[in-house]
Subunit: 222 residues, 2 copies
DNA sequence: TTGACAACATACATGCGTGTATGTATAGTG
DNA sequence: CACTATACATACACGCATGTATGTTGTCAA
């Protein structure tokens, strides 16, 4: 009698244990995120991570070369969703790119506000210091960030093509300005100071930023 | 014959060794800043700090309870100049507080740009994570930050009193917005990514921020 | 069924950082 | 001149985290 599902035919060498090994790896990653985001990277030992994942350090060293590789794996795994969100939004070429961008920013903030996992991830990569053993990953992670920035820049470029910006406006500077602002918000928001409440202030903050401080204002309505 | 300066009269129990002990303490602090800002807090050992200060760990433990106390001492020592600069600026009640504030921001950035020591200090306290042994100092340092924010808020309050802001403008939100932006700039600037060059872009960034993104613009000239 | 390999667990060696206890020299004090 | 306190240096004990080597179990393939 033939087995209902013939693994060796559809996926050669795909043993059932490999699937469970993947589950173990995922559990280790989740556990590491837990430890890192609560105690910090340097205060988390591989033993703590292993125990929280109900395995031993042996399993950890089987799946990862060392602690830094876990750190990098977390970044790799968790950076994509954000890029994906922006890419999907960019697919729509709307009439007023700046307003579209504003809505995207608000959406990103509000998404974050209701997703504790994402918050902990961001908090981790914001607060960790890339010194010591993490130094080699500094450039790599920064490169990914630069690519994200290039995506934001497209909104401003679209706006400029539509003559919706000052003549002398530089998309690169505008992107940088926005990026700094968002980073500042997120940093403050994730600091645990409770200084910023996204739900009640997020929209207002973004709004304020896009309007600027000058008294001559022609508010962009949400 | 009387000694020219009678220490015991002017400062009782002020031995000459105490002065040198203070020098040693300062050297340890400077050395700690060196280590922390280059290798990170958790990657710096007391032995490294001691050796860089040309003393032993014995001296370190004499002047400080432990490593966390050195960390806190650095913050205490180095937070004041910034507060002082703002306070001095606030002493002048100028006609256009927002423009005054803008100039202050630019000044603070440009001061930072030419002062490597200050940069390293800020970098340290931006990138360190207040987890583990540093957790107890999180609130303390945040309280200091909140006080600084209150200072910035005064500019907006002055502006509002002079009817230079929208009716519905909230000084607290405005302060928060500015703070987030500045923090974002500084964070990015100090990250070592070289994404921001204060000398060439600083003024422009601040300018852009104060003007906002809307096309209706009435640029506030520098 | 048996060898081989994957997927771990266990055990061991090592180094490193901390904290503390103790030693020591020097300056002031009565 | 003895005495004490300061300002360190030196020495020791301890735990802890890492990395690696080795052991063990289950699975698949032939």
């Amino acid at each position: 009698m033939l087995s209902i599902i013939n693994y060796s035919a559809t996926m050669p060498n795909m043993k059932r244990t490999k699937e469970e090994a993947q589950k173990t790896k995922d559990k280790i990653l989740a556990s590491a995120l837990d430890c890192f985001s609560t105690q910090g990277y340097f205060n988390s030992s591989l033993d703590e991570i292993a125990k929280k994942a109900s395995v031993t350090r042996g399993a950890v060293y089987w799946h990862f070369k060392n602690k830094t590789e876990i750190f990098d794996a977390l970044h790799t795994q968790l950076h994509e969703p954000f890029t994906q969100t922006i890419l999907e939004d960019l697919a729509h070429d709307e009439e007023q790119p700046i307003i579209q961008l504003k809505h995207l920013c608000i959406k990103l903030l509000e998404d974050l506000d209701v997703n504790n996992t994402k918050k902990r991830i961001m908090k981790l990569f914001f607060e960790c210091d890339y010194s010591g053993q993490l130094a080699p990953f500094k450039k790599q992670h920064q490169d990914k960030k630069l690519k994200s920035l290039k995506l934001f820049e497209q909104y401003f470029e679209r706006a400029k093509k539509r003559n919706q910006l000052h003549q002398h406006a530089d998309p690169q500077i505008l992107t940088l300005t926005l990026h700094c602002f968002l980073k500042g918000i997120l940093f403050e928001y994730l600091s645990g100071l409770e200084l910023i409440d996204i739900k009640s202030q997020g929209k207002e903050l973004i709004q304020q930023f896009f309007e600027g401080f000058n008294t001559c204002h022609n508010p962009i309505n949400l």
